[in-house]
Amino acid sequence: MTTPVLCAVPTVTVPTAAVPILGVALPPAQGIFQLGLVTAALVLLGLPLGRFMAAVYAGRPTPLTRLLGPLERGICRLVGADPADEMPWDRYAAATIAFSIVSFLATYALQRMQHLLPLNPAGLPGVSADSSLNTAVSFMTNTNWQGYGGETTMSHGTQLLALTVQNFVSAAVGMAVFAAFVRGFTRANAGTIGNFWVDLVRGVVHVLLPLSTVLAILLVSQGVVQTLAAAREVTLVEPLVAADGSSIATQRIAVGPAASQVAIKQLGTNGGGFFNANSAHPLENPTPLSNLLELIAILLIPAALCFTFGELVGDRRQGWALLAAKGAIFIPFAVFALVAEQAGNPRLAALGVDAAATASQSGGNMEGKEVRFGVADSAVWAVATTAASNGSVNAMHDSFTPLGGLFPMLLMQLGEVIFGGVGSGLYGLVVFALVAVFLAGLMVGRTPEYLGKKIGGFEMKMAVLAILLPCATVLVGTAVAVLAAAGRAGIANPGPHGFSEVLYALSSAANNNGSAFAGLSANTPFYNALLGLAMLVGRFWVMLPVLAIAGSLAAKKHVPAGPGTLPTHTPLFVGLLVAVVIVVGALSFFPALALGPIVEQFELSAAAAGGAR
């Protein structure tokens, strides 16, 4: 049986049905098709983009240099940034933090004073202090947790000048730190790792601005709104009757400068949407093609940076190896999530609800999903957005089946290194690679090396800090939230599902993802402060050890590879790296997951079998 694809490219036809074999639902063919399409696009687009970014961060000319070079030089002159002014790692870190403080203050002030500022056609009041704090921290740290309702809370001015600007610069900060980190491997006997301000400007001007412009235009062509006008009052085709019997003939439809924000929210792995419903909103993600474009945009720069890494370290195989490690986790997780969602809710099946995939419905678990996207595009998006530290949603993750929600949650808990944030995801994965070569070195009794640098005690201490601090933040934060009355008050669904809501929120914040499980009432002073702290730890207490590693490695000499050197571009090393990431994540989070989604899935299965409850 074949039917037109509901998402992806509408003119292509592939079978959609998920045929149960031996009682296990297979992933929908549409989902597998979508995964294949995205993977191909990431390689085809990521390869040239990765090489382009390598040239940008190495200061080499690119095809855009003639056009954008003057803008880069103009901004650098304005802020006093000089490529020749090289920084040691602690000065680079200080510049990062100084910039972050300014970003925070500007974002906070713009929200608090939006009622006094222009571009507020709806006359929205200033945002509350604790919500402003949470949002300012969130956008400064590239988390973009959306504790507010976009169209009902933020003026056009705040969306443009605070949130969209932060989408650009917080992403560029992550990419700058990545560039500095790579210089730790490429330089020898050096005391410096680059100039933060120059890296920041180059990332914005040469990478993020051109890509966002192209994507925004494509999104506008699909119907994403871009206007400074106020909400439109429209007449309903079919008037509604309210509960009191009165007729409702009109509806206010919020509009605004959405396309410009949506483009960078996806490309910069930000995720904070213009509208409250994020990419489930028809004016933020209107068509199957816009869904596909946004999906590719979520993963594009994190994938391309693997090729950038290979180019910069002078061995393209290293970049391919890192991309293979990401794919080796991402693709199975996507398939698992597709299978879990396609299997549907056994309790509904017991009530006679038809959850079978047919030509006229996607079947599976459709609660909280857009009918136009169905199970396949919702599940693939959920895995992509959590693998990539993006956090935008086109379905409500709270309504996923317990196992379907477990995989996105676990992807965040793995440290946002499976694609991860722009820059931050890859430096996080390379930190795991350092742990992997250290483990391999322990096995054979040899000093570990990575890319010609000996890995010593200092690098390992910093690597362990960068890996374990977010884990500890998630677990301790979750414990505090479920023990405190203010934390429990936000839980909408008591029991294991409520625990999952809290665990998801902390996992999202501490790993700078920003997606929400929904269900949890998190716009309260308690959660705004707790999650704000988690975001700060997850961003800066990972970034600082990473820069320390870069500084330490840059000061070391290059060691030529010998017969005992562990090759780090082989399938064996990719397997070791994947194992280290999975084992660290599993050891840290399995007990917590057992209390949430795992026990909830057992409850569902027991109910379906006519057992407990």
Binding site: I101, F104, Y108, A129, D130, G457, F458, L536, W541, A548
Partner: protein, 31 residues
């Protein structure tokens, strides 16, 4: 009042983080 508290808390965190980075630098030089 709340504004001052929130802003001071975040700036304090970031400046303290920088202090930690400096401490790490000392650790590194003595490593």
């Amino acid at each position: 009042m709340m504004d001052a508290i929130w802003v001071a808390a975040v700036i304090l965190f970031l400046v303290a983080s920088l202090g930690l980075a400096r401490a790490v630098r000392h650790l590194q030089s003595g490593d």
